[in-house]
Amino acid sequence: MKVHIKYYAKYADYAGTRMEDIETDIITLRDLLNIVRERHPKLKEDRRSLIAINDKFVGEEAQISDGATVSIFPPVSGG
């Protein structure tokens, strides 16, 4: 299946792109994040990242379905 990954703020700099598609068979978010972090090792610098699937915040135990958009956010720093 195909998953769309979106990177925000410094993660877009680290990945060199704001969006990429990944072809994969895995269905848990945790496994998918491991793949993404191996591809772009600088993403490992934060102990925790915020994740949304299809614009809803989720925990790492979430399941992924075909065509899902997975957004990976650095720790927030607004205000």
Binding site: Y8, F73, V76, G79
Partner: protein, 134 residues
């Protein structure tokens, strides 16, 4: 009333101070201003990036929480994104309540929650050309 907004345009404070109902006895505002220096280095500007849809939803949610928790009459907040220059407002929070004690607590709570919960990120652009994400 609850109003949460993420915008690229400069934030105007005055319109938020003009209309409130006759039960309001206390209006407390917080304005976050971009300082000219960050870690003793001269800043050219800040750049804020947001996941606008999620940030707006989360902002509305936390204002609604604060309104109930502190028994507010109105909870209003605007976060600016994009380029924000030193001296400009990056964040405005306005809390209207019957009495001031809950207003002070609520305003402080809202600012903290915005900084902890909204998917918004800040990049320093220094005058010397360097850029740093927070």
């Amino acid at each position: 009333m609850v109003v949460g907004r993420i915008q690229r345009e400069p934030i105007e404070v005055e319109p938020f101070l003009k209309s409130y109902d006759m039960g309001v006895g206390s209006i407390i505002t917080f304005q976050g201003i971009v300082r000219k220096t960050e870690s003793s280095r001269e800043l050219e500007y800040l750049f804020y990036e947001a996941e606008e849809k999620l940030a707006t939803e989360e902002l509305t949610r936390l204002l609604t929480e604060a309104k109930e928790k502190f028994n507010l009459i109105d909870a209003l907040a605007v976060h600016r994104i994009g380029i924000v220059n030193p001296g400009e407002i990056s964040l405005l929070v306005v809390v209207n309540s019957g009495h001031r004690n809950e207003g002070f607590k609520a305003c402080s709570f809202i600012v903290d929650a915005i900084k902890e919960r909204l998917p918004i990120w800040k990049k320093d652009h220094f005058v010397d050309g360097e850029e740093t994400w927070h």
